[in-house]
Symmetry: C2
Subunit: 422 residues, 2 copies
């Protein structure tokens, strides 16, 4: 029954039950961790053949000796392979090292100090970035570290609230860009709609500054089922809007092969690529091409990569099912929280009633369950509603995910009912 | 005979001979390249076992799953292994990605903008760096790109001219550091003496700014013979001088295993490491630990690494012998140039008589022989004496090195004799 429909006696009884359930939870002496948005060892095992896959052949298709220096934008065959992940032409790709986070930091650093067209850091007005919330903490920490002011806007079920975004870029000075995770967004799991993509691609034309869409397509091929919602093609919208120079797309195999030893890549216009390669040339002679060649040899082609993702889904789906079925069974219809049911990605985003996220996380912590700190999904670690909790079910075993969720719903019930009893 | 001792008739005859030799050279239609300071395929072959060396064991000694995220300063066993290359304790090490150039860029970027102790980029006075010349062009290009003014000082046979260095740091404002390649210096091949190391380690105490010694020990274990001069331990001098916070040492396996897919590392004080790791944490979750583990599995220990370097020396020494024996046989005692005979590293540095480097390089180019562009070993590409030519014999075959040197000495003779005929 919905919590708002309980009478005083029912509420008291429900609270007593929750206190009792929580007391039982404490007695279990659990030690569980649902904070880590990283693949499990079982997933990594899928790619164990990477080491040794070259079988002594260290030469790219064009004859390049991948063991030696050079090739700042990566191997042609790696561009061809990963271009299909981002749905872009291979000649708009750059293949980097093991971390798309590094590429994102470098793009921001370059745009800020040197500029694809005009440096953001002109000194007139603090550079600002639009940050749909909840979002990815490492995006936000790049901005904070580099002195970019973050302006939040709501994340809807079909992507950022574009009404707000369009208003902000016209109202504020020096709004330089927006962070996006367009498919299975971190953490809400939403997929940007075609209409959102079209408005997003046109956003740079409304902005007063040299506006950059940081399009982190981290979960481009990370669906849980074959019929998960597809993502439209932002590049086609950008071409239509004349804004291809204002978009940089990112991806990596961190959650395809190895999280610490994969291959990262980006795509942007050819003129942006030329400018960015020049910047990169001062800090590296080139990426690890051996590892790029390993990835090409391992997947062979896009269908090989997609078949590999099916095996990831086989591992991930039961974990998501454990989260979502427990939320639905225990909290569905109670009004104690809301969530959407992602069909891919790495997270479930749970919204408590306002002001309760910290309390739930504290209750869970006291019961031996680590959840992502409250506020982590907001700029400056500040969730003004204190309501968002990010659930990351990939790393623990299915049994541990289930045990954690069983405990989590008790904490949500207790925090909610206690707050109503005040 | 020394060219200054030739009478007019002898000079005319020698010039005619040189013109004739050069004419014959042109007729050969050569196509040779001595510009590339990179290992040969034969050298890379020594490390082919790296791919597949793990044999399915992706776990570090402490149980870390190297396939997953984390460990921003690298694997403990990689620290232990490469600490011995730099002769430092393992707990003063950080193991990075595939490029020490990246680590150097990041250290400079960090020191400039945020500061190990105090940011260099204070706005009062342009940050300046001491650059012993000739030196490594990629060091210089980092400074140029990041707006650091370069101040040259002479490189002597036992390292930078410390009299000049000490005077400069006291005379000039905001001298923030010095570039060093202490063993088999790029390109002169000299090894810094113990006395130079002692004065270098004390230099930060004389400087007005937060002074950083960028100690790029790229050729730490790259001797051609067993009795090549050893390098002293800068860390011990720094401890004696109380300047451990003012030194960052760099190294990599780029010229040990694979130039594009090795492991880079740095060493500095623990407090510097803590500050630098925080900076790195905004741009990466960690380096490629799989590749680090491969390197540890491949070498096993320091003696394994040193035995591997002996096999490199077997390949490199005949190439250096071809360069040095040809210079000695054809130009020794002629006064047409000077060089030192490196006992390790990757380069021979040839000094023409003043004003002739460009002419020699042009003559060589016209004969189909690519040499490193004149000025490349100087800040801003400007060799004020126009005399330094960097010879890089590692990449071509021995026969090609010999053919190139045979041609090179003809070009030197011709340029010198032509200049004297004016």
């Amino acid at each position: 029954m919905h919590v708002d429909q309980l009478d005083a006696a029912q509420r008291a009884q429900a609270l007593a039950q929750a206190e009792s359930d929580y007391h039982a939870l404490l007695a279990q002496g659990l030690s569980l961790d649902l904070t880590r948005g990283k693949p499990s060892a079982e997933q990594a095992n899928l790619s164990n053949a990477l080491d040794g896959i070259l079988d002594g052949n260290y030469f790219a298709q064009d004859g390049t000796d991948v063991r030696n220096y050079g090739g700042i934008d990566g191997l042609p065959e790696a561009k061809a392979l990963f271009a299909q992940v981002l749905q872009v032409p291979a000649d708009e790709m750059l293949i980097g090292g093991n971390a798309s986070l590094t590429l994102m930091y470098q793009v921001i650093d370059f745009a800020l100090r040197f500029g694809f067209h005009k440096a953001w850091n002109t000194g007139d007005s603090t550079p600002k970035f639009l940050c749909p919330v909840p979002g990815y903490d490492r995006h936000f920490s790049i901005c904070e570290y580099l002195g970019i002011e973050m302006v939040t806007l709501p994340m809807l079920d079909d992507g950022p609230d574009m009404d707000v975004a369009e208003a902000l870029v016209q109202e504020l000075d020096n709004v330089c860009g927006i962070w996006c995770v367009p498919r299975f967004s971190n953490p809400t799991g939403c997929v940007y709609s075609e209409a959102t993509l079209a408005r997003l691609a046109a956003l740079p034309k409304l902005a007063k500054s040299d506006f950059l869409i940081m399009y982190d397509n981290a979960y481009a091929v990370h669906a849980l089922t074959a019929d998960a919602p597809a993502l439209g093609n932002i590049r086609e919208h950008a071409i239509a809007a004349g804004t291809l120079d204002n978009i940089v797309q990112f991806g990596s195999t961190s959650k395809i092969t190895f999280a610490g030893a994969g291959v990262a890549f980006l795509s942007t216009s050819k003129s942006n690529l030329a400018a960015f390669k020049k910047y990169l040339g001062f800090q590296t002679i080139g990426p690890d091409k051996v590892n790029q060649l390993r990835h090409v040899a391992f997947f062979k082609d896009h269908s090989g990569l997609m078949a590999h993702m099916d095996r990831h889904a086989d591992i991930m789906k039961p974990r998501f099912d454990a989260v979502l079925s427990t939320l639905e069974a225990q909290l569905g219809g109670t009004g104690m929280g809301t969530w959407i049911s992602p069909e891919g990605g790495y997270f479930v985003s749970f919204e408590t009633r306002p002001g309760l996220a910290k309390a739930v996380i504290q209750l869970a912590s006291d019961a031996g369950i680590k959840l992502t700190p409250a506020g982590a999904t907001f700029p400056y670690g500040n969730d003004p509603q204190d309501s968002n909790i990010r659930i990351a079910p990939s790393f623990p075993s299915i049994a541990d995910v289930q045990a954690t969720m069983d405990a989590f719903v008790v904490c949500v019930r207790l925090a909610t009912l206690r707050s109503l009893a005040k």
